[in-house]
């Protein structure tokens, strides 16, 4: 219901109400005027008395257009309903059939899909004759293959979901799966499709009647009126433009209904984005402080960093609050925290990677002598491009699948360092060689999918190294990898760091991993730094209850198997955070909604 209160929703509702009114009351109000002949008035032009003029029998065209709304819209509704029902029945049948009958059915539908729908309509018109009902059946039936394909694709993607598999494991039959799981989950996209196809159907009727194949005299719909009017386009243009305008209006209403039914799209989405773009300027920004302040020895630093995002209702949600972090040259700093802790956002802000809609504020935010709060100059951009390297969690999404590894590895050298093709290539080969990829010359011609997960991640590190980075930001670089591969990738990262003396910021949810790889560990929770610790002495020196809880609740190879694991409770700060016992206290229970995954907002 909320969707109806958006601008798109209100416009769609008003339009739909108007069309419904015409269907119900049109013939009653205008029917008499539409049938009233007056030969004296024939071919009257549009004016005060006859809004759209009159036809060859002197009938008022406006009244005829209003009267024709019922027939036009009912035919549209009928044809759309035939197409939808047919598409849903055939598509869902295909989705639950065993493999071979399913393939056969889909194959037939695909063949019909390849057939131009107008030809199908002409074919059906020949069978049923050129009548209104015939046209409705023809247009409805010829829409079935298209909708079948849509329903089948939607249903197949739903039936791959774990919840459908779970229902099957519990012994649910195909019909139950269909009606309880598949239909409810594809209903919304289908409704959207129905309204969108209604506007196409309306045009199809207008086209058929225009061709003389649809509604036959003395009946008339908008298409016939258009056809009649067009003959007098030069003497009374409104006779054709009038029906045309109504057709366009009805088509627009159907499209708007589809728009309003689609969540998060259309006017509403655009408005939210617009508000977000305005907010950063509206927010009170602290007076800029020159990059000279703060820790002079640090390579990169932020102080009092806040990162906020528009909440979609005009306000801002702070995801990082008052975080200060500095990284010295050659230092390896780990940021550890759970989802929603703001660890990725902090690192991205440190590297100047956050863009609108994120609202970033900090007293100091600099890399070397570059103030990241100000727009960078060309020279600074070039330096940032080469001196900062990134390694992300999923190399398959951060490497472009359509370009070869070689092309992507030479990009930095060529665009930022202005190297020629051959030199850039040599450097890329050296990069791959440094991360332990055999036969680097040959592998440069490979596409990302030809690399295994660990190799892709190593290629990402190789890519980060081609620019001679001074800071590498690695965001969960090994989370998608197996432990043995994780160790190999970390070994590569460590060696790269030794060779170039770059600093590394390693972000991870795994406190054991971070403590084993880094010099210093920063623990974050709910957008704030909980404490910063020496990595080697983390077990002894952690004092904050949250850190202690994180350490305690993570099973390791020495955990006591006879006792329940400690559990972090969501107690007020200062209270005991670790409670023994097998209670299923969930930190997110009750007041907090589940933390959205950080990546989704970037």
């Amino acid at each position: 219901m909320k969707r109806l209160l958006t601008p798109a929703g209100i416009a769609a509702s008003l339009g739909a109400a108007l069309l419904l009114f015409l269907v119900l009351a049109g013939p009653a109000i205008w029917g008499e005027a539409a049938a009233e002949r007056s030969v004296a008035d024939r071919w009257a032009t549009a004016g005060g008395e006859h809004l759209f003029g009159t036809d060859d029998l002197g009938r008022d065209i406006f009244a005829r257009v209003m009267t024709a709304a019922r027939l036009s819209l009912l035919l549209t509704a009928g044809a759309t309903a035939i197409g939808m029902v047919g598409g849903v029945v055939v598509g869902l049948t295909a989705a639950v059939l065993p493999r071979y009958p399913r393939r056969f059915l889909v194959w037939i539908m695909d063949m019909l899909l390849a057939f131009p729908w107008l030809l199908l309509v002409l074919f059906f018109t020949v069978i049923w004759g050129a009548t209104a009902t015939g046209a409705m059946l023809a247009i409805g039936l010829s829409g079935i293959p298209n909708l079948t394909r849509l329903v089948y694709n939607l249903a197949s993607s739903v039936s791959d979901q774990d919840y459908v598999r779970a229902a099957r494991v519990a012994g649910a039959g195909p019909l139950r799966v269909l009606f309880r799981h598949i239909l409810p989950n594809i209903a919304n996209p289908l409704l959207v499709q129905a309204s969108a196809s209604a506007s196409v159907t309306l045009l199809a009727f207008a086209g058929l009647s225009f061709l003389g194949l649809g509604v036959q005299a003395p009946e008339y719909d908008w298409g016939r009126l258009l056809d009649e009017g067009i003959k007098h386009l030069y003497t009374n243009p409104m006779a054709a433009i009038g029906p045309g305008l109504v057709i366009v209006f009805a088509g627009l209403v159907f499209t708007m209904v589809a728009e309003a039914l689609t969540p998060g799209q259309g006017l509403r989405g655009a408005a939210a984005a617009g508000r977000a773009a305005v907010l950063p300027r509206a927010g009170a920004r602290p007076a800029p402080v020159g990059p000279a302040a703060g820790d002079r020895t640090a390579l990169a630093e932020v102080t009092d960093l806040t990162v906020a995002f528009p909440d979609g209702a005009g306000g801002l949600v702070e995801r990082v609050r008052g975080v200060s972090l500095s990284v010295r040259p050659g230092e390896i700093v780990g940021i550890v925290g759970e989802s929603g802790s703001g660890k990725s956002l902090t690192a991205m802000a440190l590297a100047g990677l956050l863009e609108a809609p994120a609202v970033v504020n900090a007293r100091i935010r600099r890399f070397d002598d570059i103030d990241l709060a100000a727009p960078p100059t060309r020279a600074q951009k070039k330096r940032l491009g080469t001196e900062l390297g990134f390694v992300f969690q999923d190399p398959l999404t951060s490497l472009n699948p359509a370009l070869t590894i070689g092309r992507q590895l030479t990009e930095v050298s060529r665009t930022h360092l202005g190297m020629g093709r051959a030199r850039a290539r040599d450097r890329a080969v050296a990069g791959l060689d440094a991360v332990g990829i055999a036969e680097p010359h040959r592998r440069l011609g490979d596409y990302p999918h030809q690399f295994s997960g660990g190799m892709r991640q190593r290629a990402m590190i190789g890519m980060a190294l081609t620019g001679r980075p001074r800071l590498i930001v690695a965001d969960e670089p090994t989370t998608a990898l197996d432990v043995t591969v994780q160790k190999q990738v970390l070994a590569v990262l460590r060696r790269a760091q030794r060779a170039t003396d770059a600093a590394i910021v390693l972000i991870s949810h795994d406190i054991a991993l971070v403590s084993g790889f880094c010099d210093r560990v920063v623990v974050m929770k709910d957008g704030e730094v909980v404490e910063a610790l020496d990595a080697q002495r983390i077990r002894e020196e952690a004092t904050h209850p949250y850190t202690r809880g994180l350490i305690a609740c993570l099973p390791d190879m020495r955990s006591d198997r006879t006792r329940p694991l400690p559990v972090i409770d969501d107690l007020p700060p200062g209270g005991p955070a670790v409670a023994d016992g097998a209670r299923g206290g969930d930190p997110a229970a009750g007041t907090r909604t589940p933390a959205p995954r950080e990546e989704s907002s970037l």
Binding site: A170, D482, D556
Partner: protein
């Protein structure tokens, strides 16, 4: 008595062999951990046991009854095994109230339930997994990841299974939530006498929860044995490599200087 017995199981997807010649025994009330890397075939074993993956050779027996094939006896046997999925975000129908999802699990019992009996059973199950039973009418979107995972556990329990298969059930969860789910599984095992096949790539988690461990690689079992004994003195070099790769809190990771690709 053996709750679940897998004998020389092979699973093939078309020409690709995912599991070959795997044998496993799960005794009543015990937990067997199945550990291995991605692609090692552990999830294929789980799927084959519940009938979601094709068995190309071998046998799976529940309480001595074969659960392979289309015969009704085999189907009945398969329903005695329930699976908990990895990702709690995709394992619950986003448009179905969680209570209805749990109620769907009762189908596996094969009994007819009156509306009232089913409602009471759903409340009881939600209480058992520490989710407020008054929220049975809410959609999954209103719950956190940990709560959702507990609801999927309740759904699996609704079928009154003999054997519970937990397939990477904590890998999509935060560590603080992971411990609550692990504790819940242990508690349920103790109170209900469940037999659990616990599948994970996380050696420390498997060690914590399992009585026995089997290590899988390339579709086959590398070695099996009682947890403590096997992990204290692995006989296979691969198990040793796995153990060596687990990061230890506060201990600096050492890498061989010539790390092989």
């Amino acid at each position: 008595m053996t709750a679940l017995e897998i004998e020389n199981l092979s699973v093939r997807y078309g020409a690709r062999s995912a599991v070959s010649d795997v044998s496993l025994r799960l005794d009543h009330g015990r937990t067997v951990g199945l550990v291995g890397e991605s692609g090692s075939g552990k999830s294929s074993v789980a799927n084959a046991v519940v009938g979601l993956a094709p068995v190309s050779a071998g046998d799976i027996r529940v309480n001595g009854v074969s659960a392979v094939g289309r015969r009704s006896r085999a189907r009945q046997a398969r329903l005695r095994i329930q699976l908990i999925f990895q990702d709690p975000y995709s394992a619950l129908d986003p448009r179905m109230p969680v209570g209805a999802s749990v109620a769907e699990g009762t189908l596996a019992t094969g009994r007819r339930w009156s509306r009232e009996a089913r409602r009471r059973r759903v409340r009881e199950l939600l209480e058992q997994v520490h989710v407020d039973p008054d929220r049975a009418g809410a959609l999954p979107g209103a719950f956190s990841g940990g709560q959702r995972q507990r609801i999927t556990i309740a759904r699996a329990l609704a079928g009154e299974p003999e054997v519970l298969i937990a397939d990477e059930v904590t890998s999509a969860l935060d560590v603080s939530v992971q411990s609550t789910v692990l504790n819940l599984l242990r508690e349920l095992q103790r109170t209900l006498g469940l037999s659990i096949l616990f599948i994970s790539h996380d050696l420390a988690v498997v060690r914590y929860i399992s009585d026995e461990v089997s290590v899988m690689r390339h579709g086959g079992i590398v070695e099996s044995g009682p947890t403590e004994a096997l992990l204290a003195a692995p006989s296979d070099p691969y198990t040793e490599e796995l153990l060596g790769a687990v990061p230890v809190l506060g201990r600096r990771m050492t890498f061989e200087e010539t790390a092989t690709p």
